[in-house]
């Protein structure tokens, strides 16, 4: 896609017009061919294309955030188990702690598996060498 990039005269931020007529009058714009307006960056007052390394770093951050949210969702249905055990620990009720751990063994094991999978995914994202490699990483936990 074509965009017409310019620096907002008042706000001093990067703007990308998606139509040539959207460039404000009297403002100098530079035409770029990009896959998304996110491909551009304002760097020390100059508009330029992001490098592959910059794009990869940004996409990795997005992937980390997506993973974090997904893991939080996976853990949330069994958070009550942790609350119950924590309450028993605070009350120094050792017998209750042991009983709860036994009662909720399956849930605790599942949480452990989710956390292990989370660490593996974080490593995979960190190790990705290209955008293609990163995009191939599907965030989906399978028990």
């Amino acid at each position: 896609m074509k965009v017409w990039a310019y620096i907002h005269p008042q706000l001093n931020i990067l703007c990308c017009a998606l139509l040539p007529e959207a460039v404000p009058e009297g403002v100098q714009a530079v035409e770029f061919e990009v896959s998304s307006s996110d491909d551009l960056i304002l760097d020390n007052g100059q508009i330029r294309l992001k490098t592959e390394a910059e794009k990869l770093a940004e996409e990795k951050q997005k992937k980390f955030e997506e993973l974090k949210q997904y893991v939080a969702l996976l853990l949330s249905p069994t958070d009550y188990v942790i609350t119950k055990i924590s309450e028993a620990q605070i009350l120094n009720d050792t017998a209750e702690v042991v009983a709860l751990k036994q009662k909720y063994l399956a849930q605790l094991q599942q949480r452990k598996a989710i956390r292990q999978w989370n660490e593996q995914m974080k490593q995979a994202i960190q190790n990705a060498q290209s955008l293609e490699e990163l995009m191939e990483i599907v965030i989906e936990f399978k028990e």
Partner: protein, 226 residues
């Protein structure tokens, strides 16, 4: 009070087929009275109804080449096919308020790109000037997001989105709700969202362009409410 003139004598200068001088026709036109048609329908599709405060009319802005200012009550229809960028071609100004329906027609199991649909005000992106908040429920559970963008995020992937647009130069916001489909394991998803343009000075003059993360088909309805 109107006077119905019927049965006037020919040659009197008065026309028996008029009401207060207005003739009737099934085809709407200036100074013409339109009766109900054979199906009992008042068909004004060639024109519109207007009061001092509200206009009943749908305008088709598909393929429009310049911006059109909707009157209060007036509705725009924009259809698109396999598009990644759809200019709405709707002029706007401070003090206006709109209801928007973004309807995608792609198959429920279409494979989409997991990324945002944006409304780019003034057909422009403004780097990191928009803050987006959402609460969602998907197949995994309940979650939330709070994130910065360069345009109004109004949907995700393939969506049917209903949102409301506030345009005061000092406060510009888009908020609503939408579903999401075309993802591997999440659909259906319901999302409630709000997104602010954190800029109290830039004037919003063109409602903007909708951008999709993948080729998308469907239509958009925009009704001006104020």
């Amino acid at each position: 009070m109107p006077v119905v003139k019927v049965g006037m004598v020919s040659g009197s200068g008065l026309d028996a087929d008029t009401l207060n001088g207005f003739r009737a026709s099934l085809t709407p036109a200036p100074n013409v009275i339109v009766p109900l048609d054979a199906s009992g329908i008042l068909d004004l599709s060639a024109t519109y109804v207007k009061s001092s405060v509200y206009t009943f009319r749908r305008v088709d802005l598909t393929n429009a080449t310049s911006d059109y200012m909707l009157q209060v009550g007036e509705e725009a229809y924009i259809s698109f096919s396999d598009a990644t960028s759809v200019p709405l071609r709707i002029a706007t100004q401070s003090g206006t308020y709109y209801e928007c329906h973004l309807i995608c027609s792609n198959a429920y199991n279409a494979s989409g790109t997991s990324a945002a649909v944006f409304l780019n005000p003034n057909n422009t992106t403004y780097a990191n000037a928009f803050v987006y908040a959402e609460i969602y429920r998907n197949s995994t559970g309940l979650g939330s997001t709070y994130i910065t963008y360069s345009a109004f995020r109004c949907a995700w992937n393939f969506s049917n989105s209903t949102f409301f647009i506030t345009n005061f130069t000092q406060y510009k916001n888009v908020r609503g709700f939408h579903d999401i489909y075309g993802t591997t394991n999440d659909a259906p998803v319901i999302v409630a969202f709000s997104t602010d343009w954190r800029d109290a000075t830039t004037v919003w003059t063109s409602l903007g362009t909708i951008t999709f993360p993948q080729a998308t088909s469907g239509y958009i309805l925009v009704r001006r409410l104020a």
